[in-house]
Symmetry: C3
Subunit: 140 residues, 3 copies
């Protein structure tokens, strides 16, 4: 049993962009030469989150965004914006609801994903960002 | 320290059905003969998710469904459905928001759940499905 | 590799109170004398949940609450309340959507959080509560 920690770095344009990080996670498992265990993925920061989704344009460019707009509309009043005089209150709320962490088992050296299930970062911030996802593997 | 991986299989009717998988998780821990560690549960697929809830009919048959209908109404327009000519766009969005993974510690051979807290799969798809949840235990 | 399990106890006033438990998690890691590994946090109970957020008053006292009010309004009809003749149906629904578990990697003896990212419990119940969060560390 061992622990291996890597960082996955991605550049995003924010505004709800959905980035597929499945290949990066697969590569991290392969580099670690681990066969079976759990990959804990954790987004460092408070305006993006992690989940899984079928990575196809309809969901990724429209449908997920429409749901987040219902939960935390971009044009609602956010006291966070009054604190900092910025415009990303909705981004913080959406990220907290989505969640910063995802735990994915791997078996035979590969994550146990479905065929149409990808691991994604959703960046809700209102500008271009460089994002770090910690990918920590515990296994053997 | 060791890793044990099992699959929990359930049949569902979809349409937001909530399935209690607590006993299956408890049995997996018992079979593994582990005393203390973490159970990582992961739903394989993109139209169902995992959480915990007090498993009683009011919440399970009505209240959770009402909230998901606010977030991703069944009758809204989903571009996913235009891509695939199907009717489960809301199921994908709800599943991504709920999340595919859940991490539950176990101590003395049992998960650290509250008395009125059960582990559930919620299947949002629009037809009967056979579902697989990976239950991976790391502990000693 | 070893497992260490602690309990974090907090007193809350419910009604969506957001409690910062970051220091308690950091102390648990320090006490365990572990350098690298994963902290699995799990809220025991069905009317509160865990996430990360920038812990500042605007988000914590107003903006998160406004989003949860959209998802599961306090004054909506909950069949859970008809089952138990209580008033916390919205609390159960919000907690299930937020999620009971959070997995946070730690490296060099500290969680890999962003500068403006804190680990929080959100208590949705409608009265004062004493809450238990299991903090289980697996690492070396």
């Amino acid at each position: 049993m061992m622990v291996k920690t890597e960082q996955i770095q991605v550049k995003t344009r924010g505004h709800g962009e959905v980035i597929d990080i499945t290949d990066a996670v697969k590569q991290a498992i392969r580099r670690a030469k681990l066969t079976v265990g759990t990959a804990t993925l954790f987004h460092v920061g408070s305006t993006a989150g992690l989940t899984t989704v079928e990575y196809e344009p309809g969901l990724v460019r429209h449908d997920l965004a429409a749901a987040f707009e219902r939960i935390a509309p971009r044009q609602a009043v956010y006291q966070h914006e009054q604190t900092w005089h910025d415009d990303n209150g909705h981004a913080h709320v959406r990220a907290s609801l989505l969640g910063a962490s995802l735990a994915v088992p791997f078996v035979d050296g590969a994550p146990t994903l479905g065929t149409w299930q990808q691991i994604v970062l959703i960046d809700f911030d209102t500008r271009n960002r460089s994002r770090t996802i910690v990918c920590q593997l515990i296994g053997e």
